[in-house]
């Protein structure tokens, strides 16, 4: 009972490791948690194009915010 579940769990973990490796290779900047969220979203059928644009947008937004904060803090 547990073994198929365990086997499943192992497989899943391995998959995630592989994906993380690929992500690192490609320099996507995703950490494990984000990656896992993304994987889950994709598995549920979300459009990867849309998702990637969202991620980029979020990154940009946070960067600009940080830059402005830095600027203000320095000034």
């Amino acid at each position: 009972m547990a073994s198929p579940a365990n086997a499943n769990m192992n497989a899943v973990r391995e998959t995630m490791d592989v994906l993380l490796e690929i992500s690192r290779l490609l320099n996507t900047g995703l950490d494990m948690e984000s990656l896992s969220i993304c994987v889950r979203l994709c598995e549920q059928g979300i459009n990867p194009e849309a998702l990637s644009s969202v991620i980029k947008e979020l990154r940009r937004a946070s960067d600009s915010l940080k830059a402005s904060e830095n600027g203000t803090s320095q000034g």
Binding site: S34, S36, N47
Partner: protein, 875 residues
């Protein structure tokens, strides 16, 4: 990480937002909403899910970054992933990772430049509803166009090829080509290679000096870590512009926008033409001309595609060479503009042509294309000429087949000759073929079209009615047909000369042959002459003899006449006169016809000759013509009969004058008779003269000349119709002259009356004479025998009888006077009516040449005087 639990996407998304921005949940509301909006509107991916392709892309990306080892590593990992089989949507993940990929050699800006390219590359859809990313249309997916994949692909490719040229501002000269990625070329459908998804980041250089700097510093990514993309204008399938592209944060300079919209125009033009050809090439009812038009357009589009593929290949080259490409040979927007200028002009012409030709087919289409060729621009003219050559090729084919073989196979009603299948062979010449005026191309004149119709008609006539099966090769020794469109194009260079001469040659030959056949085999001209001789009383001796023979027969009541008797008499008449020397063909068609009998008719009223026609000759002598002929015959026959009667009267008068000299009391009556008779004779004489010479002979002469000179059957038919019309109108038989005709009939009736009266007069006079002579004879006899000549009572009786006779004379006198009066009244009326008719001047002049009637009737005077005045001035 636990197992993939089933959290709702919203929650997951929120988590993601928190994670990336590093804020708490409450602060990410704005971003979260944005994320939801984006994902909600772009629900399904716009590209095909091909895992292999994505992995290839990733490898390529890694190779570009000179990380071969890493590429190999990735292959390993990918394989492992595939074997594990945990993920259901491997493609999604890989794609996601690819799109988030960053080039580590990049300076520390966080602009995921490669993602630009990647994004743009993958973002270009395969179908018509191209590219755009943030303007989703779930229905605009390849999924919904399964059957149109090929064509849609084509059109989309072309569109996206050009119109989806992404304009990017690039950071400086150096790197960046990594962002050049070409789309899924390999998965192209056949010829869809053209311009298949091109994603370009083009160094925008306004001068050949190279893309040193982006035209606007703010465009450079160094300033803003923007991951925005300018989007391109997209056009969807129906050519209308939908969706303005939102230019993202990177404010794109206006010139770029302009240039790109100019380039996008190409896509729009292409779509328009494509739509036309697609919709019509499948439509079989569009006809051959339309099909060839579509083929011509398709050819032009192929040229265009070729250009696109060349450009695409150029891009590919740049792409493959990577970073070290020199700027000079790179494909910039400006360069593209220049290279596509000529094709754009061509496409514009074609699109305008397509617009103009909407809804036309057949000859109309050719006219439309021809109309467009009237332009001063030599390139456009050449293009239109070429298309015109192709388009008119089917029409010319039809034409040549029609004029050389007489065959018409026009299922879609494109040719300008129409055939009516319900018409039978006897009306073939007149009704079966007609011109369809709307389908006459504008480069063929009306005259030529008529000639063409005539030629084909003649051939068909020969085949079907004359049963002449000589192959057309014999008729037209130099016939050939256009087999290739080249002939058609050549034809247009010399439309006036060569084409006209071809048609003329065919026309002459065919018509001549037809007339030859008609004259030799069917003796058209002989029949025409025979009509004249018999039906129009041309053969005088025959008619006279016939009348002589028929007189005792026709005096009887009409109901007692038998046709075979009359036919027998006809035969006798033929044999006895010159008519026997006519050809048997003609004689056997001559026949007697008895008209409908009304009560009280004598034979004279119902008798008529007839002439049978059949076969090809019936085309000229149609049923209407024959009925006209019979009417004229009737009239002429009556007039002839009057003449005949008057001759009899005159004969009687001459014979009996001498005899009745001994009865001086009759001299008054006789004198009256003579006077009346001579008046009548004069009248009828003039009528006959007028009819015979001024009407019949003149018209016949005209007809004969025309027929001899006729070039085709239509001319003969027309001349014949004119002949009949003029005869009928001048013989007072047409509708206008009905009153005149009635008057004339009244005159004829009077003549008959007179004849009857005179007959009775003579009879009684002669009887009286006879009796007197008998008396005298008896007297002499008795004297010779020695008796008294006459006894007293004999004498008294004789005297009484003579007295009785003398008493009847005044009655006769008065009767005659009445007759005369009537007659003269009718003649006056006739002359008066004649005055009002301009065309019968000759007749009135003749009838009243010495103004005898004018003197009697004051009503005639002024009008007669007027004309007389004019005439005398002419004289």
């Amino acid at each position: 990480m636990a197992a993939l639990d089933q959290k709702s996407p919203n929650v997951l998304l929120q988590n993601l937002c928190c994670k990336i921005t590093g804020k708490s949940e409450a602060d990410v509301a704005h971003q979260f909403q944005y994320a939801v909006r984006v994902i909600g509107s772009n629900y399904a991916p716009t590209i095909e899910r091909d895992e292999f392709l994505v992995s290839e892309k990733i490898k390529k990306e890694l190779l570009k970054q000179r990380r071969e080892a890493d590429a190999a590593l990735f292959s390993e990992l990918h394989r492992k992933l595939q074997t594990q089989g945990v993920l259901k949507h491997r493609w999604s993940i890989l794609y996601l990772l690819l799109s988030l990929c960053e080039d580590p050699r990049k300076p520390s800006n966080r602009v995921p430049v490669c993602s630009y390219g990647a994004l743009l590359a993958q973002a270009l859809p395969r179908d018509v509803h191209s590219t755009p990313f943030y303007y989703a249309r779930p229905q605009s997916l390849p999924l919904s166009y399964p059957e149109r994949s090929a064509t849609a692909h084509n059109s989309s490719i072309a569109t996206s090829g050009i119109s989806s040229m992404g304009v990017f501002s690039i950071n400086g000269p150096g790197p960046t080509p990594p962002s050049l990625l070409t789309g899924p070329g390999p998965q192209a459908v056949g010829e869809s290679m053209r311009g298949s998804r091109l994603a370009w980041t083009l160094p925008i250089s306004s001068s050949p000096s190279g893309a040193t700097a982006a035209p606007r510093p703010t465009c450079g990514p160094s300033s803003s870590p923007a991951s925005k993309l300018p989007q391109r204008q997209r056009r969807d399938g129906d050519g209308s512009v939908t969706g303005a592209w939102e230019f993202y944060a990177v404010p794109l300079c206006k010139s770029l926008r302009d240039t790109s919209s100019r380039l996008a125009e190409l896509g729009w033009l292409h779509n328009k033409i494509r739509k036309y050809t697609d919709s019509h090439s499948l439509d079989r009812a569009f006809g051959l001309v339309g099909q060839s038009f579509c083929a011509a357009l398709h050819q032009e589009l192929k040229e265009y595609y070729r250009l696109l593929s060349v450009l695409h290949a150029q891009l590919q080259v740049e792409d493959d060479q990577g970073v070290n490409m020199s700027v000079d040979s790179s494909l910039t927007l400006r360069r593209l503009l220049v290279w596509t200028y000529d094709p754009k002009v061509r496409l514009k012409t074609l699109a305008a042509l397509v617009d103009y030709c909407q809804g036309r087919k057949g000859g109309e289409l050719a006219s439309a294309v021809h109309a467009y060729g009237k332009t001063g621009d030599p390139h456009m003219r050449a293009l239109i000429q070429h298309i015109l050559g192709l388009v008119s090729h089917p029409i010319l084919n039809f034409l040549y087949r029609w004029i050389y073989d007489g065959e018409l196979e026009d299922t879609y009603h494109e040719f300008f000759v129409a055939s009516d299948p319900t018409v039978k062979t006897d009306r073939l010449w007149h009704d079966k073929y007609s011109l369809r005026k709307s389908m006459i191309p504008s480069f063929i004149t009306m005259d030529q079209a008529r000639k063409v119709l005539l030629i084909g008609k003649s051939i068909n006539f020969l085949h079907q009615v004359c049963h002449d099966r000589t192959p057309p090769g014999k008729i037209m020794p130099a016939s050939k047909s256009t087999d290739s469109p080249k002939d058609a194009t050549e034809l247009f260079t010399d439309l006036e000369g060569a084409f006209q001469s071809k048609i003329d040659a065919a026309y002459f030959e065919t018509s001549k042959y037809l007339l030859d056949v008609l004259n030799k085999n069917y003796q058209l001209l002989e029949h025409l002459q025979a009509m004249r001789r018999y039906l129009l009383l041309g053969q005088g001796d025959f008619i006279r003899h016939l009348m002589d023979l028929l007189k005792p027969e026709l005096v009887r009541a009409a109901t007692t006449l038998y046709q075979h008797n009359l036919t027998g008499i006809l035969e006798t008449a033929v044999r006895a006169t010159n008519a026997q020397f006519d050809s048997p063909e003609i004689l056997k068609r001559l026949d007697v016809r008895l008209l409908e009998v009304s009560p009280g008719d004598t034979g004279w009223d119902v008798f008529s000759l007839d002439y049978h026609v059949e076969g090809p000759i019936a085309t000229v002598f149609t049923r209407e013509c024959m009925s006209h002929y019979l009417r004229v015959f009737n009239f002429l026959w009556r007039a002839k009969r009057m003449e005949y009667i008057l001759t009899d009267i005159w004969k009687g008068q001459m014979c009996n004058a001498k005899l009745l000299k001994s009865m001086p009391e009759l001299s008054g009556v006789l004198h009256q008779c003579h006077v009346l008779a001579s008046e009548m004779v004069h009248f009828i004489h003039q009528m006959q003269y007028y009819i015979t010479f001024e009407v019949l002979e003149c018209s016949w002469d005209e007809l004969w000349n025309k027929v001899q000179q006729a070039q085709d059957l239509d001319h003969i038919i027309a001349a014949h119709d004119v002949f009949l019309d003029s005869i009928i109108s001048r013989c007072l038989l047409d509708v206008n002259n009905r009153s005149l005709l009635n008057q004339l009939r009244a005159v004829f009736d009077q003549i008959i009356e007179f004849q009857n009266a005179q007959d009775t007069l003579y009879r009684s006079a002669l009887e009286e004479l006879q009796l007197r002579i008998q008396f005298e004879d008896k007297k002499r006899q008795r004297e010779e025998m020695g008796e008294w000549g006459v006894t007293a009572e004999q004498e008294a009786e004789e005297n009484r009888r003579v007295q009785e006779f003398k008493d009847t004379i005044p009655k006769m006198c008065s009767q005659l006077r009445l007759l005369t009066h009537f007659y003269q009244g009718i003649v006056q009326e006739f002359l008066r009516l004649l005055m009002t008719d301009e065309s019968l001047q000759f007749l009135s002049f003749r009838l009243d040449f010495n103004e005898h009637y004018k003197a009697r009737d004051p009503r005639l005077r002024p009008s007669l005087g007027a004309t007389r005045g004019r005439r005398s001035s002419n004289i």
